[in-house]
Symmetry: C2
Subunit: 240 residues, 2 copies
């Protein structure tokens, strides 16, 4: 356990400074040594204060951890929103959101685990749910834009859930099973995953009725689709 030099006491009215410090230290500890290492004793020691001081700013340990999660949700939401603003094309903007999401998760695996893989603890998780919903709202907005453009058909919320699930699956499987035979070019794999989710959602939203065995006709139809898409984007490249 790293013990910091004793923290100089905050001025009167500046008590909240310690709160920010505790949050920062707790996330550091989480990243460096894992969830089990985040104890009140360790957090307080590294922040340079005594253990009971934590109770001046958080009701209990769960509240501290929840606050860390809240801060991470905020970072993720901002990142997604920023990524989406890069392109005016709704389908492309959705793709950029997915990429940003996955890359954030892989860059911060321990934090991602905190957001998505924590064991369920009964109690006040309202604040975290609100933060997660806020983040989810950005995905719904992206899905809605694609529905408006005619790329997707159906309910934007349901579509967004499917898209999120696809990206989440990619991140969380990579985090949970790093020993699986992942391709050497991880970035290409991520790009493919996002493409799969986007194209898959677009096609799936048009399929009606029960699924049928179609393996004998699919290759021809799909080759034609890919050909037309390539031709269409080549045209876009030509000066008008």
């Amino acid at each position: 356990m790293t013990v910091a030099p004793r923290r100089t006491r905050a001025r009167r009215g500046d008590g909240e400074l310690l709160r920010a410090d505790l949050l920062r230290v707790a996330e550091q500890l989480l990243v460096e040594a894992g969830e089990a290492a985040v104890t009140l004793r360790a957090v307080a020691a590294r922040a340079g204060v005594s253990t009971p001081s934590v109770y001046l700013h958080f009701a209990d340990k769960a509240a501290l951890v929840d606050a860390v999660a809240l801060s991470v949700w905020g970072q993720l939401a901002r990142l997604i929103a920023t990524a989406a603003a890069t392109s005016p094309d709704p389908f492309e903007a959705l793709r950029l959101r997915g990429l940003a999401y996955i890359r954030f998760g892989l860059a911060h695996p321990v934090q991602y685990r905190l957001l998505m893989m924590r064991s369920p603890v009964p109690g006040a998780e309202d604040a975290e749910l609100a933060a997660a919903s806020d983040c989810f709202g950005h995905v719904v907005a992206g899905a809605r834009a694609c529905v408006d453009a005619g790329v997707f058909l159906g309910d934007p919320t349901a579509l967004a859930l499917g898209l999120w699930a696809a990206c989440h699956g990619c991140v969380s499987l990579l985090i949970a099973k790093p020993q699986f035979p992942w391709p050497a070019d991880l970035d290409a794999f991520i790009e493919d995953t996002v493409r799969m989710a986007g194209m898959g959602t677009a096609v799936m939203s048009r399929l009606v009725g029960p699924p049928r065995p179609v393996s004998h006709v699919l290759p021809g139809q799909l080759d034609a689709l890919a050909h037309h898409l390539a031709a269409a984007s080549d045209q876009d490249q030509e000066p008008t």
Copy 2:
């Protein structure tokens, strides 16, 4: 903590009976009361033996939990293999595998969490990795069959990873965020997710070059694809 009546001592040579009992009880406890409730004391008490008896069959607590995970992996692998055997069409068989996977996860959320969302513990996880790889092998086989049929293009292992990730995302997001605005008809959502993964992988594996903004041409192309697929399966329905 449930305390069972004292277990009658096994006959000589039948010591392994307790091992099976401990495994069964540990999984029960996990399902009924969560991961935190699986303590050696609780397991032993419910099995009707003293706590140190567990050490006669497992090196330590981690070994007990690992053995539970191993058993669950086995169930899942058998389920997937059985589901796939139902259809001769490779694309349809892959769909059935995905459905079976997701439904297993939703039917056994606590066990699924054990397999996929446990915190990483440094140490002997070789046996579990082997069990997971065995399970994964069934998915690779399904992807390979689709490549052979021309439905997918590319490396079956990489495709299988993407498909697994998509299904895993669906299960694990449902488990992790039950408060999200999930559709009322969950089964339809699951079917759509599997369709999305299958169709998405098929289309994605044909796309080459960098992604382009194509929102203005996608709807028309996709409508045509859906139309052709529907027509093709209607033909299948006609008596030849």
